[in-house]
Symmetry: C2
Subunit: 366 residues, 2 copies
Amino acid sequence: MSDLIRVHSADSHLMEPDDLWSQALPKSQADRAPRFERDDKYETIYLDGERKHRMLNEFSDAFRPPGAFDVDLRLLDLDNEGVWGQLAFPSRALWLSGLGERELYRATAAAYNDWAAAEIIQRTPRVLPAAVVSTIDISDAIEELGRAIDLGFQSVFMPTSVPAGLEYGQDLWDPLWSAIEEAGIVAAFHIGTGETPVFYRGPGGAIVNYWETCVPGQRVVAQLVACGALDRHPNLRVLIAEGGASWVPALADRLDEAYRQHGTYVRPKLSMLPSEIIFRQVYTSFQHDASAIPAVEAMGYTNVMWGDDYPHLEGTYGHTQQTLHQLFDDSTPEARRLVTLANFEKLFDVPSMPADWGRSLTSATG
Amino acid sequence: MSDLIRVHSADSHLMEPDDLWSQALPKSQADRAPRFERDDKYETIYLDGERKHRMLNEFSDAFRPPGAFDVDLRLLDLDNEGVWGQLAFPSRALWLSGLGERELYRATAAAYNDWAAAEIIQRTPRVLPAAVVSTIDISDAIEELGRAIDLGFQSVFMPTSVPAGLEYGQDLWDPLWSAIEEAGIVAAFHIGTGETPVFYRGPGGAIVNYWETCVPGQRVVAQLVACGALDRHPNLRVLIAEGGASWVPALADRLDEAYRQHGTYVRPKLSMLPSEIIFRQVYTSFQHDASAIPAVEAMGYTNVMWGDDYPHLEGTYGHTQQTLHQLFDDSTPEARRLVTLANFEKLFDVPSMPADWGRSLTSATG
């Protein structure tokens, strides 16, 4: 490992404090915000009084890097890993998309955005939090989006699963797509959100469910393309984070085949092939996938970004440079440029990387 | 288009006669077999008295090649398209997997196999039907599998969707995997089977649903690998037909990440990485996908076969050579060899292609 690979990460998570909502909201609302309770064996997640998910403590206790809960330590972690800019999704606030009550969703999302603006945006330009907005009331979403843009957010988090009837292919979302497109920010979908993460119980369930979480992200793309939303909003950029990248050409081919072979039954018509719309507007992030770079090099899908998924277990903390070298040592310079830095810089304003940044790391890992 | 590309097809369909089950079974059973009823606008599919699916007549009336219902004409179609060997799934008998009554499933499957053996296997060695067996009683499945092998079948059709509790990751399937492995035939899953094909109603539904049908095929692979079935049966070869090929490296990477990063929670352990098991035992077929050949060339996933999906609307009848040239004119000779012929010949016994076969076609299309 002779040289340092400097990179931006298009997928990471903030770790909100336990008392985020109780500090910001009246008790009547704070009590119904996401709450996390632990006994000897399980961590249980409650949402508006209802038990949403239960998982083994050992899972939630899995290794956390030093800077998981502190932004100054986080920046040291990033320095040590070779990560300069970082898109950051929520952790606890990911569960807000399970809320069914309009006012509660509006208030908890606003409280999250205020916290992330004060504690992250105001403290470092290297970590870019995604805003949270209502996904059950579009006018609330648009209003909060405006506020979030004023606070300095550059992307808005969207859950990959939504209730039946509210699918992203439905026309009701169109005003939000317009607002996001006009603001020039990114619609940042993160896989495994908007649903409980257990699809299957049986032998190999941990692996199967890990795969299942990425399917709804693919469904989002299929729907946004097929319904014409991306065609009508050609400057709307969509990110599907943490779900890999090489599924995109496969899905694009599948949609093209439907569009051509079943053309008589296709409504609405699109102005170009689904694959062309996808390759233009859909971005993805991956952590370890060996097939992600070949998707750029050999399949013409170039909107691929790397992500560290800091500070989660699926991420690369502690082996970031090792992973990056496995991914890029044999890649073309162009693929490396796009995936490590250029695509991120196309989507986000991030401060320039100092020329000497990471030199000490080079010697430490060299 | 100067040269003829000669190919085997790993995905096509027989078109069973209307009276298959009424000819072969007592009226009490025949009346409950799949039945297709048409009025002015819709074709409706009944199964054991229950309405299973309804689709526009124009969809089912879509263009059929001349040999759709006649094996002699079919061989002429294949000659004209440049297709030598052809794996053939059922059409109407695909619906048998929706049956819930053991005896009815057993009898209708056996009647289908008898018909396909007499009308296809006995009449040409170039078209290789997949046998149909019960998917609700494993002992019935194993018994019929033995009979089918005696009749000359080289693969067994499996639906990609099964009822909850009967997922392919469950241990109950293991005796069938053993029987298939021992017989040396192929477990041939076909996408879009075992379920009604409408997942989503809304703008772009035709495209979205076409994509949705391929997801359960991916789920089959995730489950068969994660539960250890493919690891315990290293000679079991699985085909996922008609769903594309380039999703395989993406899925393999995803399972590898789960296996490594969530290792503590993974049961059972496997003897190698999920990707290694998949690349060894999982075969796929595609029709038009531009990303399928790069998956072979650049991602190391070589078990890819082409399929014509004859005589269906998603297939290539009438433009087979044009599609093959788009796919292979710039491919490596090794990828072309594997995808057009070699992988098929590794899985199936098919008569040798006469050296001069297709010469007339060459001049006709040249």
